[in-house]
Symmetry: D2
Subunit: 354 residues, 4 copies
């Protein structure tokens, strides 16, 4: 495998580059990688912001790392790096990945280009043809709780979307039972999920003291959740509605499951406990309920479950930091698995509360 | 009717008093009544804050109204007022209402004491015995869109809860069809719904940049929604989960309805249009989706509907200002109906945006 | 005077048009004018948004006013209106005003083009030549507390900037004494002051949970404050620093005055009381201190004063809603004075709190 | 010295206990100490919350540390710890410190009891007698940028207040010149500075979308700033006004200095550069201006300076995270100096942005 070949060139540190370093996911990758014990940051590439100093674009980094944002020269990035992390808008990654793989780099793509395994479905939801459909089969969906066994050997990892991360983790312990069930995922996100580009949708005065649903039944994360749930079980009938909440970070997914009346209380709780026990970043709240702030800046996914005795509905609530477990943190978790590091390396920071 | 008897004493203005004037609902009543053309504010009563000047408790009123918060002497309030508006914690209203009615005052209770028509259900959900069960039958549920025909003659009006207002209005046009259907109401509220009393739950540092579900499946507004929907149709299987959102005002109720596959698209939309046409404060958004900010400070309830062709689920989103349509504004709407005023009197103010 | 000539065409209502109706100041003008008893809204003009329905641009207006945003055809606007209110970026007003005045309309300009009475100073701070310098002398600075006597006959009113409104009102009672004094104005504003255009500066994720000073010593409102204070007294040595606060509405100006040691306590307080007594929208807080929320959505300016016995410094704090007293509300106050209406017409709404 | 004697008992780890672990400063100490390479957390003590699990009080810690909050038994805390960190309301520390020192523990007090070196001044501002005045001389003011040379041998460190930290660091490079100068410090803080106790002042609905000055000229941090500045130079005439900003974390201090006209531009900038070069947590922004978010969750103090050529005023803006550099982070910086560790140990985390 390519990375093995390259491992001769660097002694103990893995050489990592970030493309899209001027975006929020890119900045979060840098923040987390700065305290990663086994990573050497090689290139930070950006589009419009190339040529600027990182600390001018993100003043929080002054005194911590000094680096000029370089051009996104894929062959150079691939050549100089063992792993390249892509924090790019969809459409750009699929153009870059073949070249990166050719240069023997491994890739974690934080965007949506390699998450769906059908090029046709991709076109349906993203509105463009897929330019590298031959890689869709090889790409591993980077949800470590699901794919921990195949991630170590993956060349190309499709990091899950922020909503799917929370939604799928909330349903994973019972996913094999969901064939024929009916599931509503009412998800709520902070604004940073929309990225750093200024728009009316993210204008402070339009978002603050405001709450709305958006992309109702049409959000691109819908087929992603459906695909993963279907891969585990029969696949439920799924309704997914996201909402925009006046906060910067955090996703809360409230999931309503109907049709699992046969599932006993002990088995229900037992399944979630089992996930929390084997997954280092999943925490099951036995008494309380998740709140996004308790995961702030960390890679945790907090889960709480309730069952309505009257209607038989199971309610599962999951909370994550959309920029960490929903993006950069999970990418590093994948990087760790790919490189044989401790899965939690660089991800030990406690949540920032309040 | 008592108020008719009293109408001799005041020429054109109705004499109105507010109890609980030091709370948020009380302050909102005062704000709105200040511009009501047919109301004379008589007494503003308060508990712990009695004896203080209103403008010291609520500095926004300086220069607009000068009044000392008086003691809650029910017989005096009843004697001096045609209508008394109660913004009290549950448990206090049921003790006061009999005395107010005896004094020939009419009452709008903004709290929960007279919303449920069964004393046993009240005890189940509120944890105390009802002290005036004989009035439960007489009390009219003050949702004008539902009970506009009986409100004009009501002596005692139970103003709906904030969540039920948004939830029921979202479902009212199809409520008669919901028998046997399955309904999820995922509701989200700003913090002012919790009142003015300081608590850890409403501490800025705990709420800001945070999001959580609370009282999952156990919130007191659940039986209220169930009762009203059941009164219109067969009553659905209902799951209700409220969430606390880092904003001050606003409720968004996202409702998921399963089991109405037979309802045609034209009829579905037609039913909502019919509500919007007859109800002066319901606005149907034909294209966009509701956002709470577009109702800020106003008595509007904005509604948007979508249907998922794949699962047959109907998604209805409703937005209100919890302190206006969800409390004080609706109470004044009820007052208007009770007194024969234009239903929108005092409620013409446009939403404050941004 | 032109407006007198036109008064024949409309019986009792003044015909008012708004240019820049798709911006926040424009929307606030519409919100307030909807409840103005003597105004007929004629045209709502916009630039990029022309041709769209007002309620599509600002959904809060659905059901309240139905109007298509028209093109900014100045001669038509001038011809059809008694008064035109301009909520435009600087540079656009000076091009439009001559044509509007030629069409016998009177104008209130909410932008900065006619606030400074020197074309050279304008160029220094705004970076462009003034295209209508001949009107600078005629333009009346629309701070009613200062110019109430000349506003009734003004053809062209330069509505004050948001920061200058709060800053000057805070200092007005002692402005005649400030020659030789040293004054620091540390001002803080909500984000809506930056307008509705999306930018990195107003991006929610960049503003929320963040606080910064900006345009330190270089903000365009500095010469405006200096000019007005100089016109009343000798003019102080002034330092002005604005800050961006994570809230939508509100300005708080904290003013520090050194060098007025001779001013006795009684006279100091007496001067502020005198302002509050004669100015319907200035409220002096004798005990407490201003908070922006107590003015939310209203035309009030709340003022509190303290004196430091140790250093002799006088601290004056003033709070306004930047979109009302700092923009649209004050424009309507000016309109009222220009048209001989009660100065508070259309401005009676109580602040929205919380 | 006591800690030397104790250093026999623990090999390489310093034994640290925290009192007041249920407060925000306490939680922040735990968060930071969890990643400190040389610290063993011994006891976490609390008042009302004693007996509860830490993760029940602060769910962010679930899975990271499991500990029962113990009683504040001072002799036990002192006996078992090399250093005790006190996150207590003022008044409690002065009662505890003598006992802790007697038990040979060293102490960092995050409260105000040992910051002022005069018991009389303490009584003037805090309203109570000082119960341990004999320790005021020994207590070292824990601003490492000022007292780095004496902190290594200190037994008792008075950790600076949050406002004084930002204010003094902003003025430190020119403090020796301030005798006779006039200084205004207009400071703005997030809400977490008020602690975790619920109150009307910290109620979300009262703080959100609101801004106010408070404790104008009467805040207890005033004499602290005065004392430290006086200890370095002649001491300026100081005016200090704090403001409450609707955000959770962050302090911005905007300082206005008059009377340093003789100080050349090069020397001015040179002095700040010198501080930034020798102080690992001070960052001088040569171009931009500080924003609190760029320090979020970190121990940095960001500083920007401007000079007004017209009035000669120097404007210095400093930004910190009030819970880190303004409290827990600085306490750990002091701990590091006291124990001979690298001054940045445990404080390497990059700011969390956005």
């Amino acid at each position: 495998m390519s990375s093995a070949a390259k491992s001769i060139d660097h002694s103990s540190l893995v050489r990592v580059s970030v493309a899209g370093a001027s975006g929020y996911s890119g900045a979060e990758l840098v923040r987390l990688l700065l305290s990663h014990p086994h990573v050497e940051l090689v290139h930070l590439a950006a589009g419009e912001q190339r040529g600027r100093e990182l600390e001018d674009v993100f003043p929080q980094f002054q005194g911590l790392i000094s680096r000029t944002l370089c051009e996104t020269d894929w062959s150079r990035l691939g050549r100089d790096s063992d792993v390249v992390l892509l924090g790019l808008p969809h459409g750009l990654s699929m153009a870059a990945v073949p070249e990166l793989l050719d240069a023997d780099a491994r890739v974690v793509d934080l965007g949506g280009d390699f998450r769906l395994n059908s090029a046709a479905t991709y076109t349906d939801w993203y509105g463009v043809e897929h330019s590298a459909p031959e890689l869709l089969d090889e790409a591993v969906y980077g949800l470590p709780e699901l794919n921990f066994s195949v991630l170590p050997t993956a060349r190309l990892v499709a990091n899950p979307g922020c909503y799917p991360t929370a939604s799928i983790l909330a349903l994973l312990p019972i996913a094999d039972l969901l064939g024929g069930a009916h599931v509503v995922v009412d998800a709520k996100s902070g604004v940073s999920g929309a990225g750093r580009k200024a728009s009316m949708t993210t204008h402070f005065s339009e978002v603050n003291e405001n709450l709305k649903a958006y992309s109702v039944l049409t959000h691109r994360h819908t087929p992603e959740i459906e695909q993963v749930l279907a891969s585990v079980g029969g696949g439920p009938s799924l309704v997914f509605v996201p909402h925009l909440v006046p906060m910067t970070r955090g996703i809360l997914a409230t999931c309503y499951v109907h049709g699992l009346d046969g599932l006993g209380e002990d088995e229900l709780v037992g399944r979630y406990r089992a996930l929390a026990e084997r997954a280092p970043f999943v925490r099951l709240l036995e008494e309380g309920l998740p709140q996004t702030k308790a995961t702030y800046g960390s890679n945790f996914c907090d889960i709480g479950i309730r069952r309505d005795s009257k209607t038989g509905t199971i309610v599962v609530v999951a909370a994550i930091d959309n920029l960490v477990k929903g993006a950069a943190g999970q990418a590093i978790e994948n990087l760790n698995l790919m490189c044989g590091f401790d899965r939690t390396a660089g991800l030990h920071g406690a949540p920032v509360f309040p």
